[in-house]
């Protein structure tokens, strides 16, 4: 191993990377845009629910009763006004209370309420609103079921401090930067193979191992630096710093292995972009499960990027440290070995063709 040669190779690759208009601009624009997107997105979640209400005969006591935390009531002058607000999507739900409701309640008759929903509400949301309205009516009628409910939060209590959308997107932004650099490195290697410059390099005192180490370090630096920069500028490196840095480093090594593989099966920039995009589509899926949370299907855990984005999500958004991420780290390291090994084997086979 000759460090002077490796250093020369890295310096040359960085120069060529940023002279490639496409990948150079993509990298710089990517960093800037993801940071801008992050900061222009809201940094809090609006947890209030607004409900339209038309209740011409209701008394002040009634209004006092339906006031709940996080609930905003917009009073409408007419039922038509209420309906129009829902049709125009200004409101998603509206309640029309008949004029004789109090009379009906006092005479133990079953009153009839009209609940208007906007057309784009899902059944689950409609059901949630129906339950909310039932509870409100129960409180108004004084027939609330007298039970003590004990609320226990398992895991970090996020009540009142929901994760802003931008923080859910942060692992995706980081992974997008990693993939962009993957394609950049793959393009560098593929063009060396295509133009025959690799042949010129390998007939100098440079050994194949020097070449792999040089390209590997270039790839890791290209992927690692922008993601760390993203984390620093977005203020995400305030807790679990070492864990986040380690996971980004492991992610960078993984995508470098992927870049070797893509380069070995590509002939030019177009095929690099094609294979890169295909990889991107698959590897992005886990990041979307963080943006739109729900039960994660088992098969998503087969996608190597899951373990990286899950570590980032847990460390940044839930302050979960090493012990809570140990499994993820182990899986990520395992996938790293597979990717790097696969990349080196396939690229070495391609080199042998020259």
């Amino acid at each position: 191993m000759n460090w002077h040669i490796i250093k020369t190779l890295i310096s040359k690759d960085f120069r060529l990377f940023f002279r490639d208009k496409f990948f150079g601009i993509m990298t710089i624009a990517g960093i800037i845009l993801y940071i801008v997107f992050y900061f222009i997105m809201p940094n809090a979640i609006d947890e209030t629910i607004e409900i339209g209400l038309y209740a011409p005969q209701a008394s002040n006591i009634f209004y006092e009763n339906i006031k709940k935390e996080g609930l905003i009531i917009r009073y409408m002058k007419t039922e038509d006004e209420l309906k129009q607000a829902i049709i125009d999507k200004e409101l998603h739900i509206g309640i029309s209370i008949p004029e004789d409701i109090q009379k009906s309640l006092l005479s133990a008759k079953k009153p009839q309420l009209f609940v208007y929903y906007s057309s784009d509400l899902s059944d689950e949301i409609k059901e949630m609103y129906t339950m909310l309205i039932s509870e409100m009516i129960n409180e108004m009628s004084g027939s609330k079921i007298d039970i003590d409910d004990v609320e226990i939060v398992l895991g970090p209590d996020m009540g009142g401090k929901q994760i802003p959308f931008r923080d859910r997107m942060l692992p995706l932004f980081a992974f997008m930067l990693l993939i962009t650099e993957t394609m950049g490195l793959a393009n560098l290697i593929a063009s060396e193979l295509e133009n025959g410059t690799i042949q010129a390099l390998l007939t100098t005192p440079m050994k194949v191992m020097d070449l792999f180490i040089g390209k590997g370090i270039t790839g890791v630096l290209l992927a690692f630096s922008p993601t760390v920069l993203l984390m620093v500028i977005t203020g995400s490196l305030t807790q679990n710093i070492l864990l986040i840095i380690t996971s980004l480093l492991l992610g960078s090594i993984m995508v470098t292995g992927l870049a070797f593989f893509i380069a070995s099966i590509s002939k030019d920039m177009m095929s690099v972009v094609a294979w890169g995009t295909l990889s991107m589509i698959v590897l992005f899926i886990p990041a979307f499960t963080i943006i739109f949370p729900g039960p994660v299907s088992g098969w998503i855990k087969v996608i190597p990027s899951f373990f990286l984005v899950d570590i980032l999500h847990r460390a940044i958004n839930f302050d979960i440290g090493w012990s809570g991420n140990l499994n993820n780290i182990m899986f990520l390291m395992g996938f790293n070995i597979v990717f790097v090994f696969l990349g080196i084997i396939t690229l070495k086979r391609r080199l042998n063709e020259y």
Binding site: H4, I5, T8, T197, Q199, A200, P205, Y354
Partner: protein, 296 residues
């Protein structure tokens, strides 16, 4: 042809001993044996697919022979390719420069890889006739300029052996002449030059010895003078004018017992317009030996 200096040529820079190489079922090189002396310009000629590139790849450590032995600068290529590569320079047939880098950056990169200290890129740029273009990106260069830069790159480490694969291809006559002078200067410096070319006049002019390779085998190896003596026929070519006013060619083989009589008869019976003697070219000799042309 250049005069060989006996004391410089006393040792062999390259020894190739019964070397074979095959790509699957295709026998690219089939038991070739030759040596290249130190300070010699060795012309290696053959048509496409004859085994030239495979031989060069083996001599430069890009491929290892499947049979036989190659010794370069006294070292076995299979065991010391790294050490050998540090002491050789290669100009590839295919242009393989970093197009997004300038000419000087390309040269400095390779000087760094070879660990050359006090490297003067401008001097090398001037030597190959690219004065004033060193800072321009290679992508803006013409094919000929790129070819000159390829030659310059092969010179960055002041190598002991230079492998030049078609170094003047695509160059205009002046530039080609410039490169030939560079090659001769390198030989004066003491470098051994392994030259492949399709240009028979160039091979003839530059090479101390030439080897013909055909279907993976060396079919002839000697100085071009000796090859011409052995295989070539000297002829007298004349152009005559017939009574109808037409121009026709006549050819008389020299060195025959009745050559003088044939020449006399020609002048007695025909109206000779032009007459000159002609030597066989290396191409003619190659065709005579192999039955195929060098440009096939």
């Amino acid at each position: 042809m250049q005069e060989l200096k006996g004391d410089v040529m006393s040792t062999d820079a390259i020894i190739v001993d019964n070397v074979k190489y095959n790509y699957g079922d295709i026998q690219a090189v089939n038991g070739i044996t030759f040596n290249v002396k130190e300070g010699e310009i060795f012309g290696f000629l053959g048509p496409n697919g004859a085994g030239k590139s495979t031989t060069i790849k083996m001599l430069t450590g890009q491929l290892y022979p499947k049979n036989g032995k190659i010794t370069v600068l006294g070292l076995d290529i299979t065991k010391n390719s790294g050490k050998i590569q540090a002491q050789i320079g290669i100009c590839f047939e295919r242009t393989n420069l970093y197009e997004q880098m300038s000419a000087i950056e390309n040269l400095k990169l390779f000087a760094n890889l070879y660990g050359v200290k006090k490297f003067d890129a401008d001097e090398l740029i001037t030597r190959v006739g690219l004065n004033g273009r060193g800072k321009e990106r290679v992508s803006s260069f013409s094919k000929g300029m790129k070819q000159r830069l390829m030659v310059a790159r092969a010179l960055v480490n002041k190598s002991k052996i230079l492998f030049l694969d078609e170094p003047t291809v695509g160059l205009d006559p002046t530039s080609a002449d410039n490169i030939r002078n560079v090659i001769l200067k390198e030989r004066e410096r003491g470098a051994t030059i392994f030259l492949t070319t399709h240009d028979m006049l160039e091979a003839d002019k530059l090479s101390d010895r030439v080897a013909f390779i055909n279907y993976g085998e060396i079919v002839a190896l000697d100085t071009s003078h000796n090859l011409k003596q052995k295989y070539g026929k000297r002829v007298i070519k004349a152009q005559i004018k017939t009574e109808m006013g037409e121009l026709k060619d006549r050819e008389i083989i020299m060195d025959n017992s009745n050559t003088a009589g044939q020449v006399r008869t020609l002048f007695d019976k025909e109206k000779v317009v032009t007459i000159h003697s002609e030597e066989a070219s290396l191409e003619d000799i190659f065709i005579q030996i192999t039955g195929r042309g060098l440009t096939e």
